[in-house]
Subunit: 314 residues, 2 copies
C-alpha cells in the first residue's frame, strides 16, 4: 500500500483489536504517548495525511492547523461534536464516522435506563440488598403502560428508541428541526411543549453547538416532578446544572444518564440520589458493536489509502 510510509496520527487509544489492526497496516504515531505533543505534530506534519480519533477525544482546530497535509479524519463513534468540522470543511479534509453499527446497542441502553427509572429498579435492588423487604413491601411505582414518551431528535438512534417504545404500548412524540415524512408520532416544534406533553423525555440528538442546552431548564421544569429524563446523547444537550438541581429538589422525578458534561467527571450531587441511574457512557460499549465500529474506521482509512470512495463520510 502506497501509504505505509506516511504516518497515521492516532489521537487516543482505540478498541484494542482495532488499534492492533491499524498498527499492523500503517505506521501509527500515538499522540497521547508523546512527551511533547506539539513537537510530535511538527515532526510528522510534512507527510501526515490521516488522523484517527474517537468521539470522546475528537480533534481541535489547533491540531488540524499543525497538519497542513491532512486529508482525512476517521472517527471511531457516530458523534463528531468533538471534531472541529468547520476547520475540516474549510481545508477540504474529509471526516468519517461509524453510523448505523451502534444504533441498536445505544437504543437498548436507552430502554434499560428508561425502564430502570420508571420502575425504580435501582431502588428495588437496594431495598432487597439492604434487608428492607423483610420489614414490609417497597410500595408501588409508576407504570410505563400508556405513558407518553417524547424523543428529542428522531434520527437513526431516536427512531430505534421509538420502535422499542412502541412495543411497550407507549404513546410517542418527538422534537426535531423538522417534521419527518412518513412518521406518525406526534411532532412538536418546541421542546418545552414536548416536555410538557411527555411523561418520559429521551435525548437522542447529536451534540455540538447547535444542540447545546437544548434540553433547557424550562423543558426539565415542564417535564416535572413525576417526569423521567433519559440521556444517551451527549451531556452538552442538557442544562446539566439545572438537571442536577431539579433532581436534588425533587422537581424532576427521575433520570437515567449515560452521558455528562466533562466526562468522566460526574456531578457528585448525583451519587447520593436514589432516583437516578448512572452509566459511564456505555451506549455503544459492547464487544460486537465496538468491533463493527473498528471495522468501519479501518475500512474508511483503507478506502482513502486506495483512492476509493469513503465508506461512511459525515
Amino acid at each position: 500500500m502506497s501509504t505505509v510510509g506516511s504516518p497515521v496520527l492516532l489521537l487516543a487509544p482505540l478498541y484494542p483489536p482495532t488499534q492492533a489492526e491499524l498498527e499492523a497496516g500503517y505506521r501509527v504515531v500515538r499522540l497521547w504517548e508523546a512527551a511533547d505533543a506539539g513537537a510530535q505534530l511538527d515532526a510528522i506534519a510534512a507527510d501526515c495525511r490521516v488522523a484517527v480519533t474517537h468521539s470522546g477525544r475528537g480533534i481541535d482546530r489547533a491540531t488540524i492547523e499543525r497538519l497542513p497535509r491532512l486529508e482525512l479524519v476517521a472517527n471511531f463513534g457516530v458523534g463528531v461534536d468533538a471534531i472541529d468540522l468547520d476547520a475540516c470543511r474549510s481545508r477540504g479534509i474529509a471526516v468519517t464516522n461509524t453510523p448505523d453499527v451502534l444504533t441498536e446497542d445505544v437504543a437498548d441502553l436507552a430502554l434499560a435506563l428508561l425502564l430502570a427509572a420508571v420502575r425504580r429498579i435501582p431502588q428495588g435492588d437496594r431495598f432487597v440488598r439492604e434487608g428492607r423487604w423483610a420489614k414490609g413491601p417497597m410500595g408501588l411505582t409508576q407504570s410505563l403502560q400508556r405513558r407518553k414518551v417524547g424523543i428529542v431528535g428522531l434520527g437513526r438512534i431516536g427512531a430505534a428508541i421509538a420502535r422499542r417504545c412502541a412495543a411497550f404500548n407507549t404513546e410517542l412524540g418527538y422534537f426535531g428541526p423538522r417534521r419527518k415524512a412518513g412518521v406518525d408520532y406526534r411532532y412538536f416544534d418546541d421542546i418545552v411543549a414536548l416536555a410538557g406533553w411527555a411523561d418520559v423525555l429521551v435525548a437522542a440528538c447529536p451534540g455540538g453547538p447547535d444542540t447545546a442546552k437544548l434540553v433547557s431548564r424550562a423543558a426539565l421544569e415542564a417535564l416535572g416532578a413525576e417526569g423521567v429524563f433519559v440521556n444517551i446523547a451527549r451531556g452538552s444537550v442538557v442544562d446539566q446544572p439545572a438537571l442536577v438541581e431539579l433532581l436534588v429538589a425533587g422537581r424532576l422525578g427521575a433520570a437515567g444518564l449515560d452521558v455528562f458534561d466533562d466526562e468522566p467527571n460526574v456531578p457528585p450531587e448525583l451519587f447520593a440520589l436514589e432516583n437516578v441511574t448512572l452509566q459511564p457512557h456505555q451506549g455503544s460499549a459492547t464487544h460486537p458493536t465496538r468491533a463493527a465500529m473498528g471495522r468501519l474506521v479501518l475500512d474508511n482509512v483503507a478506502a482513502w489509502a486506495a483512492g476509493r470512495p469513503l465508506a461512511t463520510p459525515v
Copy 2:
C-alpha cells in the same frame, strides 16, 4: 345486596383502595388481625361464603376445611399457586384471579431485568457512584442484539415478553407443555435444550407443583457462564440453591430476579453479587395495575353476590 350480613373473609391486607371499597360494601373479617385465627374462622364458619386473598398469601386446605359454606375464593393476583385448588375443586368452590390487567407491567419488568443483566446496568451505576470512572473506562459488555432469548412458558406474560424482545432484534425460542399454534418462535420440548440454545432464559410460567424446579440445575448449567437468567414468575420454578451456587461460582453469567422461594426472604449470598439485579416482587406493583387488579376482585365478588357469571374464573 343480599350478602351484606354474610361475612367476607379477608386473609391478608390488599391494595388499600381495594380493601376500603370491599369494606364499604361487605362485612369484612380481617383474619390477620385475629388473636386466634382458628377461633375467628370457627366464629364465621356458619355463614362465610366468600374468602378474598392475594397471590402471596393464598388459602390452604386447613382453612378451606374450616369454612363448610365457602363458595368463592377471590384472589388478588394472577398466580393461584398458594391456593389449594384441589381442595376448592373437590368442594365446588369457585376461584377467581386477576389475569390480563397485569400482563404488560410484568413483561415491562422482565425487560428491565433482562437489559440490566445483559448491559450490566447495576455494575455501571456503582462504577460511576464510586468514582471509578475517573480512573479509566468500565470495559465492554455483552450486547442484546441478535442474541437468543428462551422463554419458559409462552402464556399471556411470556407472549408479552416475547413481543418486546422482538423489538430488540433478538431470536426467540420457548419451552412449554406443547407447541403453540400460530407462533413462529422456535419450540423446544425440553427445557435443558432451550437453555443450551439460549443466551438469555426468562421464566414466565405459572408456579405450583407442576413447575417446581422446572428451571433445573441442569438447565442453569446449560445456560452457562455467559448466560443470563431472568425470573418474573415464581421462586418455586427454579432450583434456587443451584441458582445461587452457580452465580456465586461464576458458572452462570448474570441474573435478574423479581421472585424468590420463601419471600420476602432472599438468600443473602446474592446481596454481595455484582452480576445480579434483585427486585422485591414488583412485577405488577404499579399504581394503575394494582387498581385494575382490585377492580377485578371487587367485580368477581359482586358478580357472585348478584348470582351473575364470575368475571375471571380460574
